[in-house]
């Protein structure tokens, strides 16, 4: 039987952002529009799945003592690949995300999953875990991007003009903190109510 919960847990129960509070920097910095958020999410997911696969494959060969440096090398390889791919095919998005694409390398989620999951599980589950966690991250960052873009710019994914007087603050730094604060507040409230 396939343990599907390895896949779903990352989206809801162990959501890396909202529950585990990891990877906050890109979450705030590049979620000013939905497109940026989605792009960042996919990039992170790509790195996550890639590194999970490789770590899982090599888990028998990596000596325990040097596992962290090896993980970092593996992750940075994927990050560099992503960085260059994005620069080649989506130059404008790459420009928007800026330094945060190479910074995926220090994103705690990715190193964390490699250490906690991929290093101890087979490749199939590692992929599932990677996709799940990546999706969890992508969904949250995209939703935050949508909210901030809608209120701050009046559009969604760059289309339309739904708000006549968009509140600029939402796409500026304070708006990022406020949005996540409110989202987590609502989440907390929901969890307390249904405990």
């Amino acid at each position: 039987m396939i343990r599907w919960n390895e896949f779903t847990k990352g989206i809801v129960k162990e959501n890396p952002v909202l529950i585990l509070m990891l990877g906050l920097c890109p979450l705030l910095a590049v979620s000013s529009t939905a497109i940026n958020g989605l792009g960042m999410g996919i990039a992170a997911m790509f790195v996550l799945v890639g590194s999970n696969i490789v770590v899982s494959l090599l888990r028998k060969f990596i000596p325990d003592g040097v596992r962290i440096p090896v993980f970092i090398i593996i992750i940075s390889t994927f990050v560099t690949v992503t960085d260059y791919l994005m620069a080649a095919y989506y130059p404008s998005l790459h420009k928007n995300l800026g330094v945060f694409v190479p910074l995926i390398v220090v994103n705690c989620i990715i190193l964390g999953r490699a250490e906690v999951f991929a290093y101890r599980n087979n490749i199939f589950y590692s992929v599932l875990d990677g996709i799940g966690m990546g999706l969890g991250f992508t969904v949250v960052i995209t939703i935050i991007g949508m909210i901030r873009e809608l209120i701050g710019n009046g559009s969604i994914f760059g289309f339309g003009n739904f708000v006549s007087y968009p509140a600029l603050i939402m796409i500026l730094p304070p708006g990022g903190f406020i949005t996540i604060g409110f989202l987590m507040g609502i989440l907390n409230w929901y969890r307390q109510k249904h405990r």
């Binding site: 585990l20 962290i68 705690c108 964390g112 906690v116």
Partner: protein, 270 residues
Amino acid sequence: MVLNSVLILGGIGLFFGLGLAFIGKKLAVKIDPLEENILQVLPGSNCGACGFAGCAGYAVECLKENADIGKCALGGEKVVRQISDILGKEAKIKEDSVAVVFCQGKDGISKDRFVYEGIADCSAANLIAEGNKECIWACLGFGTCMEVCPFGAIRMDEGIPVIDEEKCKGCGICIPACPRELITLIPKRHRVYVLCRSKEKGKKVREMCEKGCIGCGLCVKVCPTGAIQLKDNLAVIEYDKCNNCGKCVEKCPTKSIVLNNSSSSMQFLS
């Protein structure tokens, strides 16, 4: 190009790796082996989400008494379990116990002697003229125990804490919170309690409270196993002898002896 990059990366890696290994050996500072073990279990990504200085900092914290070992978000449940295995924490709790409040003096049942005004906290209220209840063994009913309970297992009902046995983990945090020392941890299989701590004489108890133990001794006589004794005008049950038969409960004239047969605990009754 490929060769170069491999060389550079490998070179840097080797240089630092060897250097680190060498220096690490040379300059090693001893640390607690237990700490080392915990550090091994922790994810090692030093994300800082636990609020401590990296994984090493948290490992040190875990060794402290009463430390919260559930703070590593990255590692999740698995790591918590491993840490607790290392520390042998779970092993400490031998028997399933539950907190019991030894007073039934609800509002109106236990008489007030004055109207208290001030901080709504039992220990603060207890400082002033020994509390607002006639009985100096009575629950003051400000719910300080409810506030300290980390599991939300205590709720206040008409001025008396009621403990939810399903939620109570038997941690005992509420015990020192009660200024009148009314809460005790009792193994779950014991179902009969004398819910009174008053050492006053019977007449005085009747004046102060409807449900106090008046020390009449009926329960002592009726008990088939001889588990009940009178000490300082108070019936005291020796739990090792008690078989939860409940005969004393029927006999008690003030209903100060109680058989707790809430659904969750029925399984313990033979």
